[in-house]
């Protein structure tokens, strides 16, 4: 019995023939990539619709495509927007740029600090750093609102751009720290020692030795911080006071029609980011190729 059990059945034997296996393998491959492509397509479908809407002439119904127009794009590019949308967009960009800048600088300094702690303390700080990331946005939003409400008793003008900016810096720093820490771990600590032995001041040692070495991590952190900041809704919602950012503006439109320019703005912004990324990627891979070509000559 045992011997017969091990002998594969007729179907299995057929399936195991090399030429059949090859066909099955390619069918599996096709299915695999079809699965991937289908869900990628679903993820892109809303963005495609946003792009379509940015060219939609219809001013009344958003569910009808009445004709093609460049007007919305023109309006965005010439800053000819209705005032509430204009304010929302400028607030979003202002806060995102400032928060990205501030949190990148602070996050890098903090990451260097955390890296230099003894192991036990470091793990504690890394855990603490994860709190805002793992914490639900709504809790972060409410927590900060409580703090700002107390601060508002002393400084009445805190709700608005100041509170929004501090809130964004707060939730951006942990992402910068998390992207910089692995790069610091790769860094040879002796390099910094060598710099100090050669009479570098600590500040110079950091800016001339450590920072250049961890630059890729800093850039990643910066990119994540910017991405998080321009898209944030929940934390901003509780801490913006009377100010609107773009997400709050769009949220307000859950039962009314949004100005069509918002679609054009969104399409333009994501196109710019994508083009910038492609440019960065191409230039870095070109550099790599150049270095590869040079290396043999040095060797």
């Amino acid at each position: 019995m045992g011997v017969r059990k091990k002998e594969p059945g007729r179907i299995t034997r057929y399936l195991r023939r090399p030429e059949v296996e090859k066909v099955l393998q390619s069918i599996a491959n096709v299915l695999k990539y079809a699965f991937f492509a289908f869900f990628m397509f679903l993820m892109y479908l809303p963005i495609i619709v946003i792009a379509i809407q940015s060219f939609n002439e219809s001013t009344g119904l958003i569910y009808q495509f009445t004709g093609f127009t460049f007007d919305h794009w023109k309006n965005v590019l010439t800053f000819n927007l209705d005032s509430s949308l204009m304010k929302a967009i400028s607030t979003t960009l202002l806060v995102a740029l400032l928060a990205t800048g501030i949190s990148t600088v602070l996050g890098t300094i903090i990451a260097i600090g955390i890296h230099s702690l003894p192991q036990k303390k470091r793990q504690g700080m890394v855990f603490l750093n994860q709190v805002p990331i793992l914490n639900a946005d709504i809790i972060t939003g409410i927590s900060l609102m409580f703090v700002f409400k107390i601060v508002a008793e002393v400084i009445p003008g805190v709700f608005g751009i100041p509170s929004l900016l501090i809130a964004h810096v707060f939730f951006c720093i942990p992402y910068v720290v998390l992207s910089v820490l692995p790069k610091l771990a790769e860094l040879d600590d002796n390099l910094y020692d060598a710099a100090l032995d050669l009479y570098c001041k600590p500040a110079v040692g950091i800016t001339k030795v450590i920072i250049p070495a961890i630059m890729p991590g800093i850039l990643t952190g910066m990119l994540i911080a910017f991405t998080m900041s321009i898209d944030d809704f929940l934390i901003s919602f509780f801490n913006a006071g009377q100010v609107n950012n773009l997400s709050i503006y769009i949220y307000g439109g859950y039962n009314r029609r949004l100005a069509p320019e918002v679609y054009a703005y969104n399409t333009i912004l994501s196109t710019v980011i994508i083009v910038a990324l492609i440019a960065m990627y191409v230039s870095s891979s070109l550099k790599k190729r150049k270095n590869l070509k040079r290396e043999p000559r040095h060797a």
């Binding site: 963005i47 793992l134 997400s247």
Partner: protein, 284 residues
């Protein structure tokens, strides 16, 4: 080691975190057991009124909202896992030399405003939608018909949550699968395990770290958010977050209590993440 002296740079961060995380958490806890006017403690009394508002059998409205919130978040997370794991696996194991490009493709949607994407999704899921309007010009039609309004709302919300948070499932899982040493898989195959068995006994257990992070990163925002739900249901559905949204100006105590419900979940997930991923390697 001179670099050890730089540890003091982290000290202000500790203070900053205590002020912006520690104090508010303490306040949330205390305020949930009080009856205050905003955040001022003047004339406040201890009471469990906020808790009774939620956990009472006399009026189960709020409990039903909690149940609905859990159900939508749970279903969305399960679907995200069932779609996200294979996608991450396919990218990580693809023969393409340039996985970076495919990875960027999964992140690009995140640079469109997530709420606007859901506004667009609502358009797509409406009976007369912009795609139908376009396709009708070439004689085609596209429309999703639901059996009834409740079903339409539930399915729309789940689709919205899945499409918004899918990248948060794919990325951490991709990160861990990518790092798995290929020689382990070869060893498993050499020892006679077939592909399915190798996956079940080697790849999947080794990717658990990413799976845990992914599940938490998807479930928490699905459970605590309210904007996507409101946009896709045109404001007809209430979730836990909506209760916070409605009450955050007038009833701080109730909001604090609701926050604790969410915090319990978060605390649990932090414990899990801290156990499986000490250095937070899968979070970015």
């Amino acid at each position: 080691m001179n670099i050890k002296k730089l540890g003091k740079l982290a000290l202000p961060y500790l203070v900053w975190m205590l002020v912006l995380v520690g104090i508010p958490l303490l306040m949330i806890f205390i305020l949930s057991f009080m009856n205050t006017d905003g955040v001022s403690f003047a004339g406040a009394t201890w009471t469990t009124a906020a808790w009774e508002k939620m956990f009472t059998l006399a009026d189960t409205t709020n409990l039903q909202i909690l149940g609905y919130t859990f159900l939508t978040a749970f279903v969305a997370t399960v679907i995200c896992f069932l779609i996200g794991y294979p996608m991450a696996y396919i990218v990580a194991r693809s023969p393409f030399s340039n996985k970076f490009v495919i990875l960027i493709l999964t992140i690009i949607p995140m640079w469109s405003n997530s709420l606007l994407r859901n506004v667009a999704l609502k358009n797509i899921l409406s009976e007369s939608n912009i795609l139908d309007s376009l396709l009708s010009r070439i004689g085609l039609s596209f429309s999703i018909v639901f059996a009834n309004q409740d079903q339409a709302t539930f399915i729309s919300i789940v689709i919205g949550l899945v499409l918004t948070f899918l990248p948060f499932m794919i990325l951490p899982i991709y990160t861990v699968i990518e790092k798995i040493d290929e020689s382990l898989l070869e060893a498993s195959m050499d020892l006679g395990a077939n592909r399915v068995r190798t996956f079940a006994k080697v790849t999947f257990p080794l990717s658990m770290k990413g799976v845990t992070t992914g599940i938490i990163m998807v479930f928490l925002p699905c459970f605590s958010g309210f904007a996507i739900q409101k946009l896709l249901s045109s404001g007809t559905v209430y979730v836990l977050g909506s209760l916070i949204e409605v009450n955050y100006i007038h009833d701080i105590n109730f909001v604090s209590m609701l926050s604790i419900v969410i915090l319990v979940l978060i605390f649990g997930s932090m414990m899990i993440v801290n156990k499986v991923d000490k250095e937070g390697a899968t979070l970015v």
